[in-house]
């Protein structure tokens, strides 16, 4: 039986939308979070996950998105601080096994790794690389 994972994605921009589509089509359980309800328009017709409207700095919203049940948490808004904090909260408060944060500012990358987060920098990575890493994780996980 295929290993279905629960994935929470914060930020439904171009990258977030792509990730959401990818995992949903793969058959994983996806919840996408964005403060702007209009952002979900980028999702493909094949997207069969859930959308939640709200700000990821609010614990209540992360609860609403069932972060506590997630296997993987991906924060890809355009706000570094928001990505870092929500990913950290996912790791520590919600005990999500793995959290990935997109960081625009290179000077924060090293620091984030020290915080235990996996970092993806758009400068050095493409969406495909992120997908590759995430799939690698999902397929390798127990």
């Amino acid at each position: 039986m295929k290993n279905v994972k629960f994935i929470v994605i914060v930020g439904c921009g171009r990258l977030g939308g792509k990730l959401a589509d990818f995992f949903s089509i793969r058959g994983d359980f996806v919840v996408v979070l964005d403060a702007d309800p209009g952002a979900f328009a980028v999702l493909s017709p094949e997207f069969s996950g859930f959308t939640v409207v709200g700000t990821a700095s609010e614990v209540g919203i992360l609860k609403k998105a069932r972060t506590g049940d997630a296997d993987l948490f991906i924060a890809v808004t355009d706000n570094d601080a928001l990505n870092i904090m929500s990913a950290k909260v996912a790791l520590v408060h919600f005990s999500v096994p793995r959290a990935i944060a997109r960081i625009f500012d290179p000077s924060l990358e090293g620091f984030c790794r020290e915080l235990g987060l996996e970092v993806v920098s758009p400068v050095s990575a493409t969406a495909e690389r992120i997908l590759g890493e995430a799939v690698h994780f999902l397929e390798g996980a127990v």
């Binding site: 279905v4 629960f6 949903s24 359980f29 919840v31 999702l43 017709p45 094949e46 997207f47 069969s48 996950g49 859930f50 959308t51 939640v52 209540g60 609860k63 609403k64 998105a65 069932r66 049940d69």
Partner: protein
């Protein structure tokens, strides 16, 4: 599993997800993106089960539920609500819904709710913070005397499950009489009264539960529901 289901939800991704799950169960499915279309389809065909999202643009979900009830007494309706919003669920239940499911829901949860509904095991009351009845708890134990607290609690829950709130009341009251210092009985009776629309009495019972056990989170949540605040 056999049966026909009408899925009423304005979000395409939800319809898609539910569709996949129900197909997997071997059910026949139809979709409607809003209340008007749902009622139009229902005027032509009957369904064993309707999955109805309460929060849709256009005709209000409650109104749709009301009209479904008017049209058919036997069609089962399971409502879909937003996470944390159980106040609507209570309202819907009074209008005849058999169960509810909160978004975002997993495939497993959806399967459970649908199979329970189709196999006539409405678990609404259970989900409404009366505490889950364990699967292996027997419904009736003729050899146990009515003087047994545990037995009374079980009977109360079973009566609720069978849609007999009056009988459930009697059992819960008996339970409280046997163990007046246990919060569980008060919480249970409060929930039953809430379902019977006796809001004021329900509040007092939840307060009693809290007074007996200040760590009883369920009682606080139930009390909030009574008082009309929406939490979460």
């Amino acid at each position: 599993m056999k049966g026909s289901v009408l899925v009423v939800d304005d979000e395409k991704n939800i319809r898609l997800m539910i569709g996949k799950v129900l197909e997997g169960l071997g059910l026949r499915i139809d979709f409607a993106p809003n209340g008007d279309e749902a009622l139009s389809i229902l005027s032509e065909r009957e369904f064993d089960l309707i999955l109805l999202d309460l929060r849709m643009p256009g005709m209000d979900g409650m109104e749709v539920l009301r009209r479904i009830r008017e049209a058919s007494k036997t069609t089962k309706v399971v409502i879909i609500t937003a996470h944390g919003n159980v106040d609507n669920a209570v309202e819907a239940m009074k209008l005849g819904a058999v169960d509810f499911i909160q978004k975002p829901f997993t495939v497993e949860e959806l399967r459970h709710v649908v199979t329970d509904a189709l196999e006539r095991r409405g678990n609404f009351f259970m989900r409404l913070e009366t505490g889950e009845r364990k699967e292996d708890e027997p419904v009736t134990s003729p050899e146990k005397s009515p003087g047994d607290y545990r037995h009374c609690i079980q009977q109360a829950k079973a009566a609720l499950e069978s849609g007999l709130p009056d009988e459930a009341c009697l059992w819960a009251e008996r339970a409280i009489a046997l163990e007046p210092i246990k919060a569980e009985g008060f919480n249970l009776l409060g929930s039953i009264l809430l379902i019977r629309n006796e809001n004021a009495k329900a509040q007092n019972l939840f307060r009693a539960a809290i007074a007996l056990d200040p760590t009883d989170e369920r009682a606080y949540r139930n009390l909030d529901r009574c008082v009309g605040r929406s939490k979460n």
